[in-house]
């Protein structure tokens, strides 16, 4: 069997063979998703009094989850686009795993403002269209910017994910029989793989990659402005934009490492998702951990030094008050634990990066919670302070979204090769050019590498 046939066999196996483990996993995750839908149905039937939010904390779990999942979505398209533009050759097995996270996490995240509306059936009021109500959205508040930013990022991410899948769908079409052949034949859209099609696909990927990077940055910046535009203690800060973007990339890389580790184990992809990939992503995670620490230190120092009473109330509530256990757990999870694991080469193994990533995902969820709730419960006048405790409805919906992410990922990996097959094959012959330039020199039309330049024999 040639190397390319082996790649086909390994990466198409999950699409054509289904074990009982897959059904068990779907059943397990599906249970939590159904439970979340049931909780959401109960909330719609009963009203939003079933939440734990009380005056003055009108934003809590839903908005925490919104910010968290939008942050997780930065794993995929942004990282993939950067690696693609940088032509990092090790990216090939990683990009699709990452891009899928973006599409699903963004969809899950975008659900939360709708859940939070209380009357989700009126969500279409957000969409600017000329209706008989003559109520057009106000374009000035950040929530309207969210609508445009998230939808642009979602459309761009779906395009960025789907475009390179088309050649792989053509491959599945050629290998499948029966109904699968018909379905994948439609999805492949008649792809043949002519030089013109490849050239156009690569150009389109390049352009979308260039466009999607600033969009990704803008999405989390706009999410941060949901808070920073409000004169609430410790929200009204210019640092929030970059702080949120850095945090999003941080949690996104952690989510990507966890997804890759799961795929490696469950789909037997050890030959494709190698320790090198975890090592490289571990280094990126380390850099983001340091950057996160820098931001939190800068934010805390500025607040402490300014000694503004309303901000100090929030500051002390998180440093040594009711929220201190969560705050210090966050610091432990986001910096104290991952830093030594990721900085010491011997510890930066697959297991090590997975442990660090679990900690970072937990820590970043806590960070989102700690940005939102302590500020709202300590707003200016002490008589207006309050507390917040989540109810079973909010907790069930949150657990359901984590299960939903896993479920969508599992179903996707049954329908689409989770590693881009054609890009892996390109990697094979690209590396053969580097390995043995002399063996191909003299072939008509072949590009050869010589003295660091590309020359053609034609």
């Amino acid at each position: 069997m040639t190397e390319k046939s082996q790649i086909n066999a390994d990466l198409l196996r999950p699409l054509f063979r289904t074990s009982w483990r897959f059904f068990a996993l779907v059943g397990f995750l599906g249970f939590f998703v159904v439970a979340a839908f049931a909780a959401f149905g109960y909330q719609m039937y009963t009203g939003i009094g079933v939440w734990g939010i009380r005056r003055p904390a009108f934003w809590a779990f839903d908005i925490t989850n919104f910010v968290f999942w939008i942050g997780i979505s930065h794993a995929g398209t942004l990282i993939s686009a950067i690696l693609r533009l940088a032509n990092a050759t090790w990216r090939r097995p990683v990009t699709r795993c990452a891009e899928v996270i973006t599409v699903f996490a963004l969809s899950i995240g975008a659900m939360f403002p709708i859940i939070h509306l209380g009357r989700p059936w009126l969500a279409f009021w957000l969409i600017p269209y000329p209706s008989e109500r003559q109520i057009w959205p106000n374009f000035r508040p950040p929530l309207a910017w969210d609508f445009f930013a998230i939808n642009t990022y979602l459309i761009g991410s779906v395009a960025f994910l789907t475009l390179p899948i088309v050649p792989d769908w053509a491959l599945v079409r050629d290998k499948a029989n029966g109904w699968r052949k018909r379905v994948y034949g439609i999805l492949a859209m008649g792809w043949r793989g002519t030089p013109k099609q490849w050239s156009r696909l690569e150009s389109a990927m390049h352009i979308v990659a260039i466009a999607i990077i600033p969009v990704a940055v803008s999405v989390h910046t706009v999410v941060s402005w949901d808070f920073a535009m409000a004169p609430v203690p410790m929200w009204h800060s210019t640092i929030f934009g970059p702080y949120f973007v850095a945090g999003a990339i941080f949690s996104g890389i952690a989510a990507l490492i966890l997804a890759m580790a799961g795929l490696r184990k469950l789909l037997h992809l050890k030959d494709y998702l190698k320790p090198l990939h975890f090592d490289n992503l571990g280094k990126l995670l380390l850099m983001m951990s340091l950057l996160w620490f820098y931001f939190i230190f800068a934010e805390r120092l500025t607040t402490w030094y300014g000694n503004e009473p309303s901000e100090m109330a929030v500051f002390w509530a998180t440093q040594r008050g009711a929220y201190a256990p969560l705050f210090w757990t966050m610091v432990f999870c986001n910096f104290l634990l991952p830093f030594p694991i990721l900085a010491i080469k011997k510890l930066r193994t697959i297991t090590g990066t997975v442990i660090a990533s679990v900690a970072v995902v937990v820590g970043m969820w806590l960070e989102r919670f700690l940005i939102i709730v302590p500020s709202l419960t300590h707003k200016y006048m002490p008589y207006n302070w309050g507390t917040y405790q989540p109810t079973w409805v909010e907790i069930t919906i949150m657990i359901g979204t984590f299960a939903g992410m896993g479920l969508l990922y599992a179903l996707f990996s049954k329908a689409v090769p989770i590693i881009s097959i054609w890009e892996l094959k390109v990697g094979l012959h690209a590396s053969s050019v580097v390995r043995s330039p002399l063996s191909v020199a003299g072939t008509s039309g072949r590009l050869t590498t010589g003295h660091g330049q590309l020359t053609t024999d034609n």
């Binding site: 057009w136 395009a159 859209m189 013109k196 150009s203 466009a211």
Partner: protein
């Protein structure tokens, strides 16, 4: 009716030889068809028809998106005045965000549209294709070959190193039919 003769090549060097030989035999460039399961940009046959105005058209799409975004926000604000927080009715600062997002959306959508049009997708009509491409073979063929040249083309394709040479005939009401060409 689609009629074609083609060879399947196990490696890109022989595919390149086949393309060169077909050209040398006087076959029109437009009649030579190549298909592969991955791009071969390091070969000349993989770089045919690379020039594309896609980037410029994407920029144009971005411009259209941006202008639409600005008009959507500013005209709406003027048509339905909602004085808010002492801001002007159509503030550039906030409308700039809508304009920016729709600029990017316009560029992305334009890129998608140009890709589909220029790569001729979707196209479910019968085309010169062989499922062996998915096993790593490279197809080099000639669409609608003149009957007089058929035997010569078959020899040219075979001499370039084809693993197999086949003919494809697709009638208007028939399933695609391929057959091996015997030596």
């Amino acid at each position: 009716m689609l009629k074609a003769i083609y060879g399947l090549y196990a490696d890109p060097d022989s595919a390149q030889r086949a393309v060169d030989s077909l050209r040398a035999a006087g076959v029109d460039e437009r009649a030579i068809s190549v298909a592969s399961s991955e791009p071969f940009e390091e070969y000349e046959f993989g770089r045919r028809e690379q020039r594309t105005p896609m980037a410029w058209l994407a920029a144009l799409g971005g411009l259209v998106g941006g202008v639409s975004g600005y008009l959507l926000s500013s005209l709406t604000q003027k048509a339905y005045p909602l004085p808010t927080g002492g801001m002007p009715l159509a503030p550039l600062w906030t409308n700039g965000i809508i304009t920016y997002e729709l600029t990017m959306l316009g560029a992305i959508l334009a890129t998608l549209a140009i890709l589909l049009v220029s790569a001729r997708l979707p196209n479910w009509k019968p085309q010169l294709y062989d499922p062996a491409i998915s096993d790593g073979y490279i197809l080099v063929g000639v669409v609608s070959p003149p009957e007089a040249l058929r035997i010569g083309l078959e020899r040219t394709l075979r001499e370039a190193g084809a693993s197999e040479v086949k003919e494809l005939v697709v009638g208007l009401d028939a399933e695609p039919r391929t057959q091996g060409v015997s030596e």
